[in-house]
């Protein structure tokens, strides 16, 4: 490991807030756990009933409270427990993503993925990729509230 890499890995650990659908991604992360798949411990999972229930406020609030990245993960299209929740989420999340990009927040800070209950390996990969993408960006200071 080069010196520069060592420095970035010790100085800064990105914190991810992961909103996981109760019916799939949450179980997927569970599967990754029970299968003993190694992945970074940077994500704080928050289980929600459905990705469609995620208000843009959750995402903005997470960023405001200092999350370096926000992940929204739900069921594959067509697999929603509530039939159409993830279709609605796809629209809403698209708007949030575009808006964040528009005001100049790095696009990589916000991510959405479809992870089913059987995809423990995919979940670990999503987190790994996300952490790798967040590292070069450094701490998120744009939306974070200054509480000093």
């Amino acid at each position: 490991m080069s010196e520069q890499q060592a420095e970035t890995t010790t100085d800064y650990e990105p914190r991810i807030v992961a909103f996981l659908c109760k019916w799939c991604s949450s179980a997927g992360s569970d599967l990754a756990g029970v299968s003993r798949i190694q992945y970074p411990a940077n994500a704080t999972p928050i289980t929600v009933p459905c990705t469609g229930s995620i208000s843009p406020n959750y995402i903005l609030s997470a960023l405001k409270k200092g999350a370096d990245g926000v992940l929204v993960s739900g069921c594959h299209i067509g697999d929603c427990h509530y039939i159409e929740g993830n279709f609605l989420a796809r629209r809403k999340i698209h708007l949030v993503k575009e808006l964040l990009g528009f005001v100049g927040v790095e696009q990589d800070r916000f991510r959405m993925s479809w992870v089913s209950a059987a995809e423990g390996a995919k979940y670990s990969q999503v987190i790994k990729d996300f952490v790798d993408d967040l590292r070069p960006l450094g701490p998120q200071t744009k939306v974070k509230a200054d509480r000093s």
């Binding site: 406020n57 629209r91 708007l95 808006l99 528009f102 100049g104 927040v105 959405m112 939306v143 974070k144």
Partner: protein
């Protein structure tokens, strides 16, 4: 050209026949040449009504106020209220009806076409140094009465940005319509201002919005003037948190506050982003929020961004039909999903 007498006669007749409870229109304000919104309730007041280039307010806000007033006083309304609506006013009225805020029979829309001219932008007028006491439409020009006499200015030069880009100056939804239908006149391509801004790179965009959000004083003028911001409790207020004798300090401290009251950059940003997302697919680009902003934050850019996403990605046009689905409560199989991993 709309004959002012037609507007007055229509209002007078309807009030005299007792067909409507009142007419929401414009009258001369005490502030120089500018118009101000008025609700007239008797036929004699009809002569107060005016129609000129300073009628830029979105009157559908007063439909919301009227309904809130009725609900508050528990009054029953068997008659509609009439509104003088430009293209944008009519569109926002349609959105309100689409959301079942009131029914079509509760409102009588007197459509007033903006024709080729639109309305003025006070700030553009001030930059030109025009201090007028009166203004009038005349073909593609505005005629201002100043101390030096009449001044004729091409409408394009002092017209509000939204009017330059307006796609629908004629109120499609109406009971009666006055003026010519000049839909499709488009003096500038839609989203011209937005495109210009988007050419900046993300760092420059952030620098810009960082400064803008820093300046916001959270007076909530944008929220107050917006006809779509009719929620009884706004997400930024949390006024319905019940504080009783039994409420502990911990409960008070830990209650959900999506946006804090302090006017700091991060809170302001969250407030504006929340508002923009709540208005996505509902904002009809009347641009009242930007007009009333005391610190001139270009809110139209944010709203336009959402409007264009809705239009280009989801094929959604706000205020198009009363019975249509709303943007965020509907979906298509063809919605973009490439960004999802």
């Amino acid at each position: 050209m709309i004959n002012l007498q037609d507007i007055r006669d229509t209002a007078r007749n309807m009030l005299a026949k007792n067909e409507v409870r009142g007419v929401i229109g414009y009258r001369r304000s005490t502030n120089g040449m500018l118009a101000e919104p008025v609700i007239i309730t008797s036929p004699e007041q009809a002569d107060e009504l005016i129609w000129d280039p300073t009628c830029f307010h979105n009157l559908s806000l007063y439909l919301v106020e009227d309904r809130k007033f009725l609900a508050h006083t528990r009054a029953k309304s068997d008659k509609p209220i009439a509104i003088i609506a430009k293209g944008c006013d009519a569109r926002s009225t349609v959105v309100l009806m689409q959301e079942n805020y009131f029914e079509r029979k509760d409102v009588y829309i007197i459509g007033a076409s903006c024709e080729g001219t639109g309305v003025v932008d006070e700030r553009k007028l001030a930059r030109k140094g025009i201090v007028a006491t009166n203004s009038a439409f005349d073909g593609d020009d505005f005629v201002f009465t100043t101390a030096q006499g009449e001044q004729r200015i091409p409408a394009r030069e002092v017209m509000a940005d939204r009017c330059l880009e307006c796609r629908e100056p004629f109120p499609k939804e109406h009971n009666i319509a006055l003026g010519e239908n000049k839909t499709g006149r488009q003096l500038e391509a839609p989203f011209t201002a937005l495109k210009r801004f988007e050419e900046l790179d993300p760092a420059a965009r952030w620098e810009f919005w960082d400064r803008q959000f820093e300046r916001c004083i959270r007076c909530f003028a944008c929220r107050s003037v917006c006809p779509m911001c009719y929620c009884d409790e706004c997400v930024v207020d949390s006024t319905s948190f019940p504080v009783t004798g039994q409420t502990t300090a911990e409960e008070k401290a830990n209650r959900v506050r999506w946006v804090e009251r302090s006017a700091t950059r991060a809170e302001n940003m969250t407030y504006h982003m929340t508002r923009v997302l709540h208005l996505a697919g509902r904002c009809v680009d009347c641009n009242e929020c930007e007009r009333v902003c005391p610190v001139n934050i270009p809110l139209r850019l944010l709203n336009n961004k959402m409007e264009r996403e809705a239009r280009e990605q989801f094929g959604y046009e706000p205020g198009a039909s009363i019975g249509g689905p709303s943007l965020t409560a509907s979906f298509l199989d063809t919605d973009p999903g490439k960004f999802i991993r």
